[in-house]
Structures are given as structure tokens and as C-alpha cells.
Amino acid sequence: MRLYALAVYLFLYIPIAVIALFAFNAGRHASQFEGFSTQWFGKALSNPFVMEAFRTSLTVALASAVLATLCGTMAALALQSVGGRLRAAFDALIYVAVMVPGIVIGIATLIALVTVFNWLNPVLAALWPLGAAAPQFSLGYGSLILAHGLFSMALVIIIVRARIAGMDRSLIEASADLGATPWGTFRQVTLPQIFPGILAGFLLSFTFSFDDFIIAFFVAGSKTTLPIYVFSSIRRGVTPEINAIGTMVLAVSLVLLITAQGLLQRGRRRA
């Protein structure tokens, strides 16, 4: 039994370890280890296309995670005092957002936005004051942030609602009995209790957006995110530079995930 478990863990982690190992390979060949070197990290970090893609991914991940955490937490708090049809509607929307495959979300967002933009851009151009060129809507940062944030927001609502459900209600009642204002109760009692959930939701949202390929593939327009860059590089062939980028991407998500897990587990134990 122990041996079996060990074998499965090796299966899960050896491929990741091999990627990281070969990122430090001195040689050009992706197959033979020829000594330790960090040159491929240097190459990757001085490649302007990689850095541009990295900046795009970082911007999108940060913006979508902030917006999703904010809107998701607000919705989770409000959903406590909502019943009936509205609550059922939100439950259904959250369910659909999580369950519909990313590829369908990507496609649907692409054709809906292109259709809306094709209709909106001429209207905008006609209404714009003479002389100045009217701004054009197009796919890019906006569509990436909103499409990634949609899934993230559903995730944040699920996590924060679970925290609220596990919260000690008597503290809120006590706070109200002792004369605290609703805002004071929220800031000093509710928020500290649900904060680990909010933070974990934020970290997961960031990781999701930073790692997502399939939705970005459809809605990125002329922008290139890091996963899109890596995907098109792999099509051109396997190089140690991809290993270096992959190792950095994995490292970023591992650190964020372990932090998120720590927060969720700590909350679970206390609850």
C-alpha cells in the first residue's frame, strides 16, 4: 500500500522534476544532461518576446484576480441575505460558469464580443466628434481580464460562501448585542474570519489566469500571454529555453498554491 502510494507520487512529480532538471542543462540538446548551467534562464529572461508575454500574463492575472475577488466576495456576502429565485439564479450561474468547459467559454466569448464590437464600432465612429479618430473596441486586455475573471469569480464565491457557512454566528450576535454598528461588526468580526478564504480565492484566481491557455487562445486578440507563447514555441520544437520558462511558471504557481492551501487548511482546522 505504501509502495503503491509512493509510486503514484513519483508519477505525479517526476515529470515536473525532469522539466526543472533539464532547464539547468548546459547542453543544447533537450535529451542529454551535459552539466549544470543557468544560461537558459538568462536566455529566456533576456528574450523580449518572453518578457512581453510575461508582462501581459501578469497584468491580466493581477487585474482579473483583483476584480474577481472583489465582486465575488461582495456577492458571497450579499447572497447570505437573499433567498428564493434570485439565490437559485446565482447558484445556477456559478454552476454553469464552473462546469461549461473552458473551450466553449472561449469560443462563446470570442464570437459574442466580435459581434458586439462589429456593431458598436461604426456607431461609435458615427457619434464621435468630427476630426478626431474614434476609439475602436477590440479583443485584448479587456476581454482576457473579463473572461478569466468570470471563472475566478465563481470560484471566489464558492470558497468565501463556504467560509461564511463555517463561521461562528454567535460572535456576530454578541457583537451586535454589545452595541457595535453593522459596519463595525463586519470589519472586526466577520472580515477577520472570512479573510483567509478571500486571500485563498485571490491566489487561486491569479494562478488560474496565469496558467490558462485555452480561454486566452480564443480571446487574446493580438496579445500574447505566456502560455500562448509557450504553446507556439513547442510547436516549433523542444528547447531548453521552454524548460526554463516552464520551470519558472511552475515555481510561481507552486508558491501561490501552497500558500492558498495553507490558508484553507488552517481555516478548516479552526472551524
Binding site: 522539466i19 535529451s31 461582495m74 450579499a78 434570485l86 446565482f90 491557455f213 480564443f218 492558498a260
Partner: protein
């Protein structure tokens, strides 16, 4: 905060509601409307009302057949590998290490599937495991760009999602039932088949449904490890929207995919209700 609570609630729900409407409900409605339309002269969409796209789904039958063979096969492979691990974690693992071991199972699922599939291109490619086998005198099999490679990628990608629900249902299982059966002289295999397995069925069903649903929409694993030979519905969709730009037909394929998934979920709900009289938690974290 002197605002009336009702307005505050509405204000708090409005951004999320608007986001869902604009980026989820509207796009999905557009897909449904477009699926009854025609391909525009230069690609894209032209308004029409026709069932041709749906009647034409048969032309992508290979993609549907591949998906509907590989998805159940991949789900089964995940189940067979995940169940013993979930059993170990729930029944045998040292309580001090259990949390860490669980986290170690879930963490890979949240890291980039792109990079993890790339790892298998690396391992199964000509210079990886095949050359290792060759050096050991075991022949030089072709592994990459085969259905086997896709299956390995699937198990690697989705195993964590199968382990977790099964673990949850095994962990909740009343262990005194097993002890009682043991005291009454029931052999281990019979204890497992008559007590543990039936009681862990909700977890098994949840895991299978989660993996199956995600596999139905898979694009990346067949694209990277199947080398264009193992073509899923997801690959057909990428082709239809980004290469041939036939939005109307592509929308019909996407709608058909979601429909097949809905049927699966409904069947799953019926199944679990019969098994356990209720739904098990879908715990992903």
C-alpha cells in the same frame, strides 16, 4: 452604513450579476443563435435559420467518436489508479502526514496543464523513455503521438480530481462497520466489496463525472501528445473557429458538446441519488 439593507444587498450583487450576464449568459445565447445560422461569405456568421449545421454534425463524427471513446477510457484509467491511493490516504496514512499528502495530490492539478503536458512530450519523445528502453535492449517503441500518449497525459492531468472525492467519501465512512464485519469473521475482500465499495460509490461517481466532463472539452492534451492523430471535439472546435472560421457550424458542434455533457450530468445526478440518497460534496480544494 446607513443604507437600507435591501439596497446594499442589491448593490453588492450587481457587479457579479452584470459580469455573469455579459460574459456568460450573453455569449452562450450567441452560440445557440449562431448554431442555426450560416457561414458568412468571408467566414464568420451570416444570419439565417436552418438546421443544416446540426444535420451536418455527422461530418465531425470522428472527433465525437474519439472523444466518446477516450473520455470514458481516461476516466476509467484515472479511477483504477486513484482508488487505491484514496484508500491509502483515508485508511492507512499517518494522521500527521495526511494533510500534506493530500495537498501534494491536489497541487499539480492547479499548475499549468500546458507545462505538465509538455513534460510528457519530453519524456515520451524519441530521446526520452523510448531511448532508455532501447539502451536496456527492450526495443525502441514509438510512444509520442499515439493514443497511449494521450491516455498517459489524461491520467497525469486529471488523477488529482479523481482522488479527492473518493478520499472524502472513504474518510467519512464509519470505520466501525468494517471492524464489526471483521469481528464477525468476514474476509477482507468481502468487507471491501460489501461495505467499503458501496459506501464510497458517491465519491467514485463524483470523481468520474468531474473527470469525464473535463475530458469532453479537452483540447490541449490530444493536441500536444496525440500529434493530430487523436482528434477530440475540442480540436475540431479550434479548427472550426480559428482556421476555417465557420462560426455557424462551430457553434452547432459546441452546442452538441454541451448537450452531451448535460445528459451526462443528469444521468450522474439520478445515479447518485439512487446510490446514496443525496449528493456528495464536490470538494476541489
Amino acid at each position: 452604513m446607513t443604507m437600507r439593507p435591501r439596497y446594499r444587498t442589491a448593490l453588492f450583487l450587481a457587479p457579479a450579476g452584470a459580469w455573469f450576464l455579459a460574459m456568460l449568459v450573453l455569449p452562450l445565447l450567441v452560440v445557440i443563435v449562431y448554431s442555426f445560422g450560416e457561414r458568412g461569405p468571408a467566414g464568420g456568421y451570416a444570419p439565417a435559420f436552418t438546421l443544416d449545421n446540426y444535420l451536418n454534425l455527422g461530418s465531425r463524427w470522428t472527433a465525437f467518436r474519439n472523444t466518446l471513446t477516450m473520455a470514458p477510457l481516461g476516466t476509467l484509467a484515472c479511477l483504477v489508479i486513484a482508488y487505491p491511493l484514496a484508500w491509502f490516504l483515508a485508511m492507512r496514512a499517518d494522521a500527521r502526514w495526511r494533510t500534506l499528502l493530500l495537498v501534494l495530490v491536489i497541487v499539480p492539478f492547479w499548475t499549468s496543464i500546458l507545462i505538465r503536458s509538455y513534460a510528457w512530450i519530453f519524456l515520451l519523445g524519441g530521446q526520452g523513455i523510448p531511448s532508455l528502453l532501447n539502451a536496456l535492449g527492450l526495443g525502441n517503441p514509438r510512444l509520442i503521438n499515439t493514443p497511449f500518449a494521450v491516455l498517459v497525459g489524461i491520467v497525469y492531468g486529471y488523477l488529482p480530481l479523481m482522488v479527492f472525492p473518493i478520499y472524502v467519501s472513504l474518510e467519512r465512512l464509519d470505520k466501525r462497520l468494517l471492524e464489526a464485519a471483521d469481528d464477525l469473521g468476514s474476509p477482507p475482500m468481502r468487507r471491501f466489496l460489501q461495505i467499503a465499495l458501496p459506501l464510497s460509490m458517491p465519491g467514485v461517481a463524483t470523481g468520474c463525472m468531474l473527470v469525464f466532463i473535463l475530458l469532453m472539452g479537452e483540447f490541449l492534451i490530444p493536441a500536444m501528445l496525440g500529434g493530430g492523430k487523436v482528434f477530440f471535439v475540442g480540436n475540431a472546435l479550434v479548427d472550426l473557429f480559428l482556421q476555417s472560421r465557420n462560426w455557424a457550424f462551430g457553434s452547432a458542434v459546441a452546442a452538441a458538446l454541451v448537450l452531451v455533457m448535460l445528459i451526462t450530468v443528469t444521468a450522474y445526478m439520478r445515479f447518485t441519488r439512487r446510490w446514496a440518497g443525496g449528493r456528495d460534496d464536490v470538494a476541489l480544494m
